[in-house]
Amino acid sequence: MQVSYNLLKEYIDMDMSPEELAQRLTINGIILERMENISTEIEKVVVGKIIAIEQHPEKKKLSVCQVDIKKKILPIICGAKNMKVFDKVAVALDGSKLPKIGIIKSKKFGGVLSSGMLCSASELGIEPGKSPGILILEKEAVLGEDIRKMIKFDDTIFDFEIHSNRPDLMSVIGIAREIGAIINNKLKIPEIEIKEEGEKIEKDIVVKIEEEDLCPRYAGRVIKDIKIEESPLWLKWKLRLLGARPINNIVDITNFVMMETGQPLHAFDLDLVKGKTIIVRRSRPGETICTLDDVERQLPANSLVIADTEEPIALAGIMGGKHSEIDQSTKNVFLESAYFNPVNNRKSTAKFSLRTEASNRFEKGIDKEVQIYALDRAADLINKVAMGKISSGKIDTNEKLYQPNKINLRIKRVSKILGQFLDKDESKTKNKIIDILDKLEFKLVKDMGEYIEVIPPSFRGDVEREIDIIEEIARIYGYDKILPTLFNTTIAQEGKDFRLKVVDQVREILIGCGLNEVITYSFISPETFDKIRIPEGHKLRNAIKIKDPLTRDHSLMRTSLISSLLEIIKWNTNRQIELVKIFEVAKIYLPYPDRSSSLPNEKLIIAGAINKSVRGDVWEKSLSLDIFDVKGIIETVFQGLKVENWEVVQGNHPAFHPLRNGKIIIRGEEVGIFGEIHPEVINNYRIPGKVNLFEIDFENLFPNVPSDIKYCVLPKYPSVQRDLAFIVKEEILSADIIKTIKLIDEKLIKKVTLFDIFKGKQIGDGYKSLAYSVVFQAEDRTLTDQEVENIFRKIREKLIVKFNAKIRE
């Protein structure tokens, strides 16, 4: 809501500076969004009257005006076309000062002297931008008078953010009233004198309400014989302060009164209302209306409209129709001041996606008692400004719309909610409460001792319950005066559960492994699946669809983190970052295929990816990142979490290289995948080099994380280590060999480690040489050489039998 300091002062006396005022209002909940000092230096600009206009002898586009400024008549050259003889205008004299232009001097144009300048509204700072012609003043303007006497150019404009529960503050009077409550001063409401003359209103108009629920109150007046003109300077200036553009005197008055009182008004050209009848009804199938913004609109059935006997002439509470618009030829008007149902109004604005100053107020719920005041205020102004004659009588379909709501307020409840009494003296708390409520114009109905009965004012439709009143009391009392306290009780609970602690631990380990954590959007594009080679019908393609996404790229909820990480690698390699090691801990969203109405299964995923496209520094040169680096990271995580008994089997995830693609299995369940990203996928993302990536399903991993540690007694007897090298066929898996060795003597064989692997001509095509170290240890004795040799021999024999190994001596 835009308003100015001087404008507010017309409604409330205050001696605060604009800065102080903004500060006070902000801490009371009316937040200042913007403040602008519009003080301009205007000097030597006076009211003049054009007494003659001639064309410039040389320059066809210019006119030479003779302007009477009371003391003398000045020749002034002007490029505008909108002035006529006898128009009153703002004349910048020789040596005058204008805000944007600076000093104006007499000057010759094509041989003719111009002793000043005729000002446009924008040149005077009355309109933003550039006005099309010069400013025409009202006839009543006093010849020769300094323009600064007509309007106060020094002012400060505020733009306040109004909370949606306070539509009463969407008006100058509303804000002034709030200031009054804060500084304890009385509001000055403009007085109205209605001069009714001529025929009764009923002769010219009949109002029929077909939808009382949607339009519970409809009031109106008829004003005749008006003169449509530009608004007088004072009104234009007020509109400028309120941030509205002047149109003509009638429209300007309805706009001004709306912003002054919070009651939207609409003026119809009475002579264009067919059948002399206003009908408030729902639209019928197939009806259309051309609204004031020049848009021909199809009316969805059941929209609330204002209609005459033939067709809709306005969208109720939103915008008027083009047909009955006020224009230069309008003579008589019907002025509407209604209360429309807020919920219905909201629905309609959504349906038309058309939000106006009027609908913005109706949809939040306006004061149910202000209709007649606003109507009369506008009628009075039309009478004064546009010479209109107010027909006698008015229409008001429901004087008793406002039903006072009595609320009980328990005095003790206030202190209980706020945590303190409003006065050190407990007994004075009640007086203080009553005093605050009085400032807010709440009516005290009865004082029952323990509680009081109060009625909120009509403009405070948001106050319905005891708690609402308590908030009002706290607000005016001042949040700053409420002392901060800390709980007077403690509750014992586990702050962070084991699951979340494990998540933290995983993140710590991954950071320790040198990975940088990323956070990516949960959304993906439908093209993602093709890009990462997920075939049609694959379960990963079953993703949650966003009904109304912002972009196609963000239209699905992801079912895997693979594409998100690849995007980040691409982003970084595109920016010459060669070594990218990243991880993310985030959810995927899997719909339950059989239950479309239930919430999806949200699974926490730990995913990481590494890529090296070019050589790094002197050490990194020797670092080749491959599948065993990602596998190593997974092993480090498992080691950190003390997860054991996991195994790796060949995987079949389509995003990976078909042979470099592993699945991690714990107790028969898949816990994760890792591997080298398929070259086609790499190509789809245009990433240089190879990417190795892993995804661990935290929900499946977590049950395998031990929550406590059991200490094992340290061995008392020495261990013995023996090494063993042999040649086997290439396809034999190391994990199988280790398993086989361990099974020879599960008690005494403590550890089997692969320490060398070699392929080459000496070994032969299709074969590899493996070297393992085997550690033997007994818990109750020192092993003898003979014992170790016996087991070792069995190992060799087994390897020969099972894997056809050629033992190397």
């Binding site: 949606s164 629905k347 909610i417 908030e471 509750i491 990243i582 109405s597």
Partner: protein, 339 residues
């Protein structure tokens, strides 16, 4: 005899001064103390001394032998030390070569901030709760006193999946879920991703992180809200920050308060960052509206409560001086590695 011995000692001292390496010392040792060495020969001559002279000369000779041994030893240590030093001099390396580091990674700045916030509330006895991101309209809006057609829904333009399911626009639904399943006292925070239909620009992102807190008990007051949140602001932004509570409107709290902290850049004097107000808005808060209690079946006469919520991105932007929210989601390593 005495003179002879003294002469030998003098001789050896001057020879030692000329010694260059351990070999020279060994040579001297053989020359004087070896089987045919000068001192050894002298000792052998002892037999030719008279019985009276013999003990004295023997004593003198033996003492001199020890002294010579000592001198040789000292010189030997000295030379050894010099030689070791010389050897080390040859082992120079370029210390400016890069270290072979393990290259620790980094936590995402949002998680860094979340962690810090989490720690503060954990220390105040709050528990961490979790809830779904794809949420029912009921929990996201209706149970929070935001029925369909409520104007507050405009401020939280949502991504809907279907009529009843949407991406949560705030973390508040977790509060409802917790209150539904347990009785007071409650002291909880919840942290997570939220979604609003905002096109990305320097201050908006369609996805962001929120931290939400709730305390329900028999005597929770507005004073407690102020106390707890003041402690929070002081810990996260520093003790010298001023905190301001300003009336606000949220459908699910009453009274409601917006929490401001004195501007981190201008210290309250007013600058562009704070819109020349000297204050930065950091979170919303309030006492839970009785209407919300009714939805979860709590008796508002018996219990009271306060709740608060803030955006992690905003806190991180203020804390680290980041001026574009998109940086958090671009994940440029040059950005991430700064944290």
């Amino acid at each position: 005899m005495e003179n002879k011995i003294k002469g030998v000692k003098k001789e050896i001292v001057s020879k030692l001064n000329l010694v260059k390496d351990l070999k020279d010392i060994e040579k001297l040792r053989v020359e004087y103390l070896g089987r045919k060495g000068i001192v050894t020969l002298l000792l052998r001559k002892l037999g030719s001394f008279s019985a009276e002279e013999r003990p004295k000369a023997g004593q003198l000779l033996n003492q001199s032998k020890r002294e010579i041994e000592e001198l040789l030893k000292i010189k030997e240590i000295e030379i050894e030390k010099l030689e070791k030093e010389k050897r080390l001099q040859g082992e120079g390396i370029d210390l400016t070569l890069p270290g072979r580091k393990l290259d620790r990674g980094t936590a995402h700045p949002i998680n860094l901030v979340l962690k810090e916030i989490e720690e503060i509330f954990l220390s105040l006895g709050f528990k961490i709760e979790e809830g779904p991101e794809v949420e029912l309209d009921y929990y996201n809006f209706e149970a929070l006193n935001i029925p369909k057609d409520h104007p507050a829904r405009d401020d939280q333009d949502s991504f809907y999946i279907n009529k009843e399911i949407l991406l949560r626009t705030h973390t508040s639904p977790v509060e409802i879920r917790v209150m539904e399943k347990q009785q007071p006292p409650i002291r909880m925070i919840t942290i997570g991703r939220c979604y609003r239909r905002d096109a990305a620009d320097s201050t908006h992102a369609p996805m962001f992180h929120q931290i939400e807190g709730l305390a329900v008990d028999k005597d929770i007051t507005f004073g407690d809200l102020k106390g707890v949140l003041t402690v929070f602001v002081h810990r996260i932004f520093g003790k010298d920050r001023k905190v301001r509570f300003r009336p606000a409107y949220f459908p699910f709290t009453e009274p409601s308060a917006e929490v401001d902290v004195s501007c981190l850049l201008c210290h309250g004097r007013g600058c562009r960052a704070c819109g020349y107000t000297g204050w930065l808005e950091i979170m919303g808060s309030g006492e839970t509206d009785p209407a919300v209690f009714k939805m979860v079946g709590y008796d508002p006469e018996k219990y009271s409560s306060f709740a608060f919520g803030m955006g992690a991105e905003r806190i991180a932007m203020l804390k680290y001086g980041i001026n574009d929210i998109r940086l958090f989601f671009e994940n440029d390593l040059r950005f991430l590695k700064q944290f």
